[in-house]
Symmetry: C2
C-alpha cells in the first residue's frame, strides 16, 4: 500500500480549518489512500460531514464505515436535512440501529456523546476468559481497556480495567476483581457535567446508565477534550458580548454571524440609551460647567473596565465550580474591598493628572482642586459599584436560571454606565455647589 | 478494609474547591482509608500539595507514594520552597531520580507534563513476548495500552497499541506490527501545542523526544484535559482585561488578585485619559450645543461593544487555530462589511429613538433632524472602526510576539473611545456647521 509521508498528513490536518473548500479538495486529493483516512479521522464531525459530501457516493461509503457509531451519528447530525437520509443509508444494518438510537439523544447530553460499543463481561467469567474475550472482540469496541460487568438485566455491577485483569490471577472470577464503586452518569447528564467528572476523577472512560440503572454506553476521554474546548469557546464568545457561534469563525456564514452579533449589540444599545436619558437631566449642569463633560468618558469607562474584570473572574470560577451560588456573600465582601482599593488607585492617578495639567497648562481654572476632588471621589464610587455589580451579575443570572456567562464585559459596562453618570453628577453637586454649579 | 460510600467521595471531591482549610480537614477525616486515597487522587496538584502539608510526616509518606513520578513532581513544584526538600525526601530512590529529571523542565512544556514510565519494547520481540512483558510490568507504567519500540540508543522506531498486539498473530515480531508513522512532540513543545495535537489527532498518549530523537517520556490524555481548562481560563481572564490569576478565584490571595487587576486597570485608565484630552478640544462645541454631550456615552460605548465582540471572536479563533496570521486580510474585509451592517442597525435604532423623543417631548429643538443624522452617521463610523480595530488588534499583538488574548474587551474599548469621540465631533462639524455649530 502506498504510504503518505506522516508530516504531510500532520500539515494538512493543521492547515485544514483555514482552507477554503477548493483548497481542501486539492489537499485531500494530494494524499495517498492511507493519508486520506488518517486525515478524515483527524477532522471534527462538521469537517468530516463537509468532506464526505464533496465525494462521489462510492467513496463516501468507504470513509463512513471506518467510523464507530457515535462518530457516524455526529456526522449525520452535522449534515443538512436533505443529505441525512443518504448518509444513513450507507451504514451497515447493525450501525444503522445503533446510530438511530444515538440520534434520539440531545447532542449536548451524555447520551449524545456515548458509544454503545463497550466490552460486556459477566460476573462469573474467569480473568483468563475475559482477556480472551477482549482479545477476540477488540476490533469492534470503542475501548478494550475497560470491561463492564453486567447482570442479565443489563444492570451495571462493576468495572474492571484490562490492566486490572492483566495483573490478577487468571483463575479468579470477574466478580472477584471488579471494582463495584462505580462512577457513572445518566444519558441525560449535560456534557459540561460529564467533562467535570472526567477532570475531577482523572477517568479515561465513564459508563452511561439510563434511569433504571441499565447500561447504555460509554463516553471516552477523547470525546471530552472536544467538549471542554467547545464549552470554553461558547463562554468566551458570550463574555465578548454575543451569542455563541457554534462553529469556526471563518466557516460561519456571514449573515448568521451578523445576526448573532446584532442581537446583543442592539440590546446593549437600547440599554445604553438610558445614558442619553440620564445625560438630558444633567444638560443644565454641563452648560454651566462644560469642564464636567470632559471627564465623562474617563469615569464611565473605568466603571465598565472594573466591572468586566469582576464579572469575567466570577463567570469562569463558576464554570469551573470554584465558586458556588452560596458563596455570593463571600464574593460580595471581597469585591467591595477590591473595588475600594482599585478605585483608590485610579482616583490617585486621576487626581495627579489634573494637578499636573493645571500646573503646566492652567486648563481647569480657579476651581481645579474641587474638580480634581470630584473626579477622584467619583472614580472611587464608580469603580466600587462596577466591581460589585460585575461580580454579582453572574449570581443573579444563575439564580434566574440563565447562563452566568451572559454577564459579558459589554453587558456589565452598559449596566454600569448609567449608574456611573448618576454617581458622577451627584458627587459634582455635593462638591461643586456654590462654586461651579 | 472499611469501604467509604462512593457518593460521599464524589460529593467531597465536588465540594473541595469551595471549602475552607478547616472544612477540608474535617471532610478528609470523615472518609475511610480507601475514600481518602480516592479523594487525594481526584484533587489538583495544588490541592494535593496543600492537603499533604496538613498531614503528619508518616501519613504524607503513604499518599505521596501512590503517585506516579510526574504527579509527584507537580506536587513538589506546587509546594513552597521550605517544604520541597522534605516532600522530596519521602520518595523512594527510583522516583527521586525521575522527579529530579522532570523538575528540570518548564512546567508549561511537554517535558513538564510527561511521565518517564512508559512501556519499552524491542523491535525483535514477538507479539506474545510483548503481551507477557506488558502484563508483568503493567503496575509500574503510566499506561500499558501503548508500547514504544526503541533501538539500543533509545531512539523511537515505532508505536504499537495493546489493542494492535491483541489482534496480531502471537508469533509476529513487534517490528512487523508496529506503526512507524510516529506523531511525537519534543520536550520543549509548549503545552498548548501538545493539547492541539491531541485534539486534532484523537490521541490518547503522545511520545516526547529530545532533540536527538531519544524518547524521554509520554504525555497522556488525562493530563491534557487539565491543560485545556487552564489555557481557556487564562484566555478568558485576559479577555476580561486582567492578568491571568493562575489559581482558583477564592484561593488566590487578596493582595495578589488586586495587584493583577490594578495593573491593567491603571494602564487602561492612562489610555482612557486621552478621552479627556480629546474632550478638552471639543469644549467649545459642547458649550455651543450641549445636546451633543448627551449622546457621547451612547456613541463611544457602541464602538467599544462592537470592538469587543470582534476581538473576542478572533482571539478565540486564533487559540483554536481556526484563523491564522495570514488570514488577516480576509478577516479585515469580512469585518468591515460586518461593521457596516451592525452600524447601520444601530444607526436606524438611534435615528428612530431621536424622532420618537422629539415627537413626544420636543427634547431636541428645531434642528432635531440634523442631530438625528449626526448620531446615525457617527454610529455607522464608530461601529465600523470598532469592529475593524477589534478584529485587527489580535493580529497586531501576535505579530509583535505578544499574546493575542491581551486584546481584551476593555483594551479594545479604550482604544476605540478616543477615536469614537473624534469621529462623532467630525461628523457633527460636517452636518451641524451653520446651524447648531
Amino acid at each position: 500500500m502506498p504510504q503518505t509521508p506522516p508530516n504531510l498528513i500532520t500539515e494538512t490536518i493543521d492547515a485544514w480549518p483555514s482552507l477554503s473548500a477548493g483548497e481542501r479538495e486539492r489537499a485531500f486529493r494530494r494524499l495517498k489512500r492511507d493519508g486520506r483516512e488518517a486525515l478524515f479521522l483527524g477532522l471534527s464531525s462538521k469537517e468530516q460531514a463537509e468532506l464526505l459530501l464533496t465525494m462521489p457516493e462510492h467513496e463516501r461509503f468507504t470513509y463512513l464505515r471506518v467510523l464507530p457509531p457515535d462518530d457516524a451519528a455526529d456526522i449525520i447530525q452535522e449534515a443538512h436535512e436533505p443529505e441525512r437520509g443518504g448518509l444513513f443509508a450507507l451504514l451497515d444494518d447493525k450501525t444503522q440501529n445503533e446510530v438511530s438510537a444515538l440520534l434520539a439523544y440531545a447532542e449536548d447530553d451524555a447520551g449524545g456523546l456515548m458509544s454503545p460499543r463497550f466490552a460486556r463481561l459477566r460476573p462469573d467469567m474467569t480473568v483468563d476468559q475475559s482477556i480472551s474475550y477482549l482479545r477476540l472482540q477488540g476490533r469492534q469496541m470503542e475501548t478494550i481497556y475497560y470491561g463492564y460487568v453486567l447482570d442479565s438485566d443489563q444492570v451495571l455491577l462493576g468495572v474492571v480495567s484490562l490492566r486490572g485483569l492483566f495483573t490478577a490471577p487468571g483463575g479468579a472470577t470477574v466478580a472477584d476483581v471488579m471494582n463495584s464503586e462505580i462512577i457513572s452518569v445518566t444519558d441525560e447528564t449535560d456534557q459540561e457535567e460529564v467533562a467535570r467528572q472526567f477532570a475531577a476523577r482523572g477517568l479515561s472512560a465513564i459508563p452511561v446508565l439510563d434511569s433504571d440503572g441499565k447500561m447504555k454506553g460509554i463516553v471516552t476521554l477523547d470525546d471530552i477534550v472536544d467538549v471542554v474546548q467547545e464549552e470554553a469557546t461558547e463562554d468566551i464568545q458570550k463574555i465578548g458580548g454575543m451569542e455563541a457561534l457554534d462553529g469556526p469563525y471563518l466557516e460561519t456564514g456571514f449573515w448568521l454571524m451578523v445576526r448573532k452579533r446584532a442581537g446583543w449589540l442592539a440590546a446593549l444599545f437600547l440599554g445604553e440609551m438610558l445614558t442619553a436619558t440620564a445625560m438630558s437631566r444633567y444638560e443644565e449642569e454641563i452648560s454651566r460647567a462644560v469642564v464636567l463633560a470632559v471627564f465623562i468618558p474617563l469615569i464611565i469607562s473605568s466603571g465598565g473596565n472594573s466591572g468586566s474584570q469582576a464579572s469575567t473572574l466570577i463567570v469562569r470560577a463558576m464554570a469551573l465550580s470554584e465558586v458556588r451560588p452560596r458563596d455570593w456573600w463571600r464574593v460580595a465582601r471581597r469585591e467591595v474591598v477590591s473595588g475600594l482599593m482599585l478605585g483608590s488607585v485610579l482616583a490617585a492617578i486621576g487626581f495627579a493628572r489634573i494637578l499636573i495639567w493645571q500646573a503646566v497648562a492652567h486648563t481647569y481654572g480657579e476651581h481645579y482642586l474641587l474638580i480634581a476632588a470630584t473626579v477622584a471621589f467619583s472614580l472611587v464610587g464608580v469603580v466600587m459599584f462596577g466591581t460589585l455589580a460585575g461580580s454579582m451579575l453572574p449570581f443573579v443570572l444563575r439564580r434566574a436560571g440563565l447562563d452566568p456567562a451572559s454577564a459579558s464585559a459589554p453587558f456589565v459596562a452598559t449596566l454600569v454606565d448609567v449608574t456611573g453618570l448618576v454617581i458622577y453628577f451627584t458627587v459634582a453637586h455635593m462638591i461643586l455647589s456654590g462654586s461651579l454649579l
